[in-house]
């Protein structure tokens, strides 16, 4: 391989700026190095991706992309592969470029054999074009926060255009329980594989309010669900034109939730069935497990490696995190949109918990500036939960009112206001030795980690 001077310079500049940002203590140093590198060599991502011997796997979806890509990276590493991965959740082109520059030598030689790239929904077409992945994993498409309403159609169309331009030697693995993903991947020249739930006793009676109406993309009629599992995900068909969910290449059966801590499923492909235990709560995480396992099997990972990787996996930054603090076990769960929030509440409600819960709502750009979205959340899930409920953050009052109108008695709701003052008050309300749940929006999660860090409890995420 010849030495590409511009590429070498770009990588060196990217590495240096990552180093100096960390020395200055400014945060994770995840995006700026990518900007620096891109300025020096606009094709750097394309060039680096082409040099990875085992190719790239791209993971996208509104919910679960961080968890899924991390499980997948864990499995691949367990198989002895060096994995290049944008680990800290920087999932725009420049964050991905930064992750690549950090994990190659100055001469542009990748330090890993395979890449797992978590990508933002809007960035997916460009990331796919530039990295030419061997496998694209599509998890789901949900409405995101309010400021982004109406973008869903645009994203679905851009994904469809991307899928239609793939080559036959590429593979897409889609969650077939999402009717939109099934529809937009129908005509792709790539090899299409599917995963989904074949059988699961946890079903919904009707589409949640936050879900978009499920419409048959062939004829426009409303889809009928034989089973509905989560938001608009399920086993559907169209009574008017006969369209139905595609057959599952990886079908999950015996999907089990074990309280707030774990779950399991059997993943069938062909005649083989693989039992998977995961230390992750909630149906939404079992979808992530099925997607990651399907992806790992698709690229040839042996069964036992998949099982072990999933069994040992610990939740990713910002999604679910357990922290010991003052002899309490705090479980932090990021909430970022109505569907994710709904599933967290549903999981809490299934657990008969009595220990306090704190919901922290901010309204900065990354959270969604309009808190109207709280009214698209089914907070009614908590109406029968005994736990005392605390709210905090910039929009503490809005969340308190949302809980009240969900039918929860005002006496059970305590708005604590500003997070900086709220954290200690909340922890005091938790009996020693008990577990308490904290549900922050994105910027609230960042501030919460800072506050806990100041109190000496959390390692910053890039130190993991």
């Amino acid at each position: 391989m010849t030495f590409d001077i511009r590429l070498g310079l770009a990588i060196a500049a990217g590495k240096l700026s990552a180093l100096s940002i960390r020395r200055l203590g400014r945060g994770g140093g995840t995006a700026l190095p990518g900007i620096v590198s891109n300025q020096l060599d606009a094709d750097i991502l394309d060039k680096l991706a082409a040099r990875i011997p085992g190719g790239s796997i791209v993971v996208a979806g509104t919910n679960g992309k961080t968890t899924t890509s991390r499980i997948l990276a864990e499995i691949l590493e367990r198989a002895g592969l060096g994995v290049i991965h944008n680990r800290s959740g920087s999932n725009l082109v420049r964050g991905i470029t930064a992750a690549f520059t950090e994990q190659v030598s100055i001469s542009g030689q990748p330090s890993g054999q395979i890449a797992v790239i978590e990508t933002d929904e809007a960035a997916l077409p460009e990331v796919v074009r530039r990295t030419r992945p061997r496998l694209i994993v599509l998890l789901n498409l949900f409405r995101d926060q309010l400021d982004r309403y109406g973008e869903l159609d645009t994203i679905a169309r851009s994904w469809q255009a991307m899928l239609n331009e793939l080559d036959p030697d590429q593979t897409v693995l889609i969650n077939a329980d999402d009717p939109a993903l099934a529809a937009i991947s129908e005509d792709t020249p790539a090899k299409r594989l599917t995963f989904g739930f074949q059988q699961c006793e946890h079903t919904l009676d009707h589409l949640p309010h936050a879900a978009d109406a499920a419409i048959c993309r062939r004829c426009g009629a409303s889809l009928t669900y034989r089973e509905l599992y989560l938001s608009h995900l399920g086993d559907y068909h169209c009574e008017q034109c006969g369209y139905r969910r595609p057959d599952l290449d990886y079908g999950a059966t015996d999907v089990q939730l074990n309280g707030l801590d774990s779950g399991s499923l059997d993943l069938s492909s062909g005649d083989a069935t693989l039992h998977l235990d995961a230390s992750l709560p909630g149906l939404y995480n079992l979808y992530n497990v099925a997607g990651a396992a399907g992806a790992a099997l698709t690229v040839g990972m042996p069964d036992w490696v998949v099982q072990a990787g999933i069994g040992e996996f610990k939740a990713a930054f910002g999604r679910i995190e357990r922290v010991e603090y003052h002899n309490r076990n705090l479980v932090l769960v990021l909430i970022k949109n109505p569907t994710g929030f709904n599933e967290v509440l549903r999981t809490l409600a299934m657990s008969d918990m009595t220990d306090p819960v704190m919901i922290i709502i901010n309204d900065l750009d990354a959270d969604g500036r309009d808190v109207s979205w709280l009214w698209d959340v089914d907070a009614e899930h908590l109406a029968d939960v005994e736990a005392p409920l605390f709210t905090a953050g910039i929009r503490s009052g809005d969340m308190a009112v949302r809980l009240k109108y969900a039918g929860i008695a005002s006496e059970r709701i305590t708005p604590l206001g500003d997070l900086d003052g709220a954290i200690d008050q909340f922890v005091e309300a938790v009996p020693e030795g008990h577990t308490a749940f904290i549900l922050p929006t994105y910027t609230a999660m960042l501030r919460l980690r800072e506050l806990l860090h100041q109190r000496g409890v959390v390692q910053m995420f890039w130190e993991q």
Partner: protein, 242 residues
């Protein structure tokens, strides 16, 4: 006593957490031991004015507003206008508000006729107004919400604005007005959702409905501590974000 709340076009015009308004009306009735039913009325369905006590009409994307504008023409729109003129209470937000006026002209599309209940008209504007809003209303005091609209609404000489914008852009960004009020019907651009954080408006609509059907003159008061915390928080937030 029982109130029936009708969510007009609730299946398609339901963005931005607008269902919070319907929930607020129903819960504040139930907390006073008044039964509350929620119904929706969609395209192609006939309006029976005697079966409804309070209307809610929310917003939608332009693409959803076009078929609704067609559906509300003719007898259905006439019946709705007469019902409102007879004093039936309604809260309308954004798209619903625009269609209560004389017409709405979306960008690059034909003009959509409204039902002409408000002396007002709307047209697509060049920029989108997005952010927290505080309105001062003679009748309700301060109102808080979140605006997110590029349609501009202009009030005619006989129209009364809901209030004056203290923070934010309001009906059109020019004349300082926000919303419109006529008889017991309100129109505005305030999401948030509006009613949970502005309980005086909820109670105005509920009382108007009870008066109309049962001759009730006043409402049992409720403890609104949490609502007021959220209201004050929203006022402060508007002041620092715009």
């Amino acid at each position: 006593m029982k109130l029936t709340i009708c969510w007009l076009y609730g299946d398609t015009m339901n963005i931005y957490g607008d269902r919070g308004n319907v929930m607020a009306l129903a819960q504040r009735a139930r907390w006073r031991d008044i039964e509350a039913d929620i119904t929706t009325l969609g395209s192609g369905e006939k309006l029976d004015p005697d079966a409804v006590d309070i209307f809610f009409w929310g917003g939608g994307q332009d693409r959803e507003q076009i078929p609704v504008s067609q559906d509300i023409q003719g007898e259905k729109g006439t019946v709705l206008r007469q019902t409102l003129e007879d004093g039936a209470p309604m809260l309308s937000v954004c798209g619903g508000y625009q269609l209560l006026g004389k017409h709405y002209h979306p960008y690059g599309e034909d003009q959509l006729p409204g039902i002409g209940f408000f002396d007002a008209w709307s047209e697509a504007g060049p920029e989108r107004f997005i952010g927290n809003v505080v309105v001062e209303s003679e009748r309700f005091g301060s109102l808080v919400g979140f605006e997110n609209h590029s349609g501009l609404t202009f009030l005619g000489p006989t129209a009364e604005p809901l209030g004056r914008v203290r923070v934010g852009r309001g009906n059109n960004g020019k004349d300082g007005t926000e919303g419109c009020i006529r008889l017991n019907t309100l129109g505005c651009y305030l999401h948030g959702a509006l009613l949970p954080k502005n309980p005086a408006v909820s109670d105005f609509l509920i009382l108007a409905a009870l008066k109309r059907r049962y001759g009730v003159e006043e409402l049992q008061p409720l403890a609104d501590d949490l609502e007021m915390i959220a209201h004050q928080e929203a006022v402060r937030r508007a002041e620092v974000t715009r």
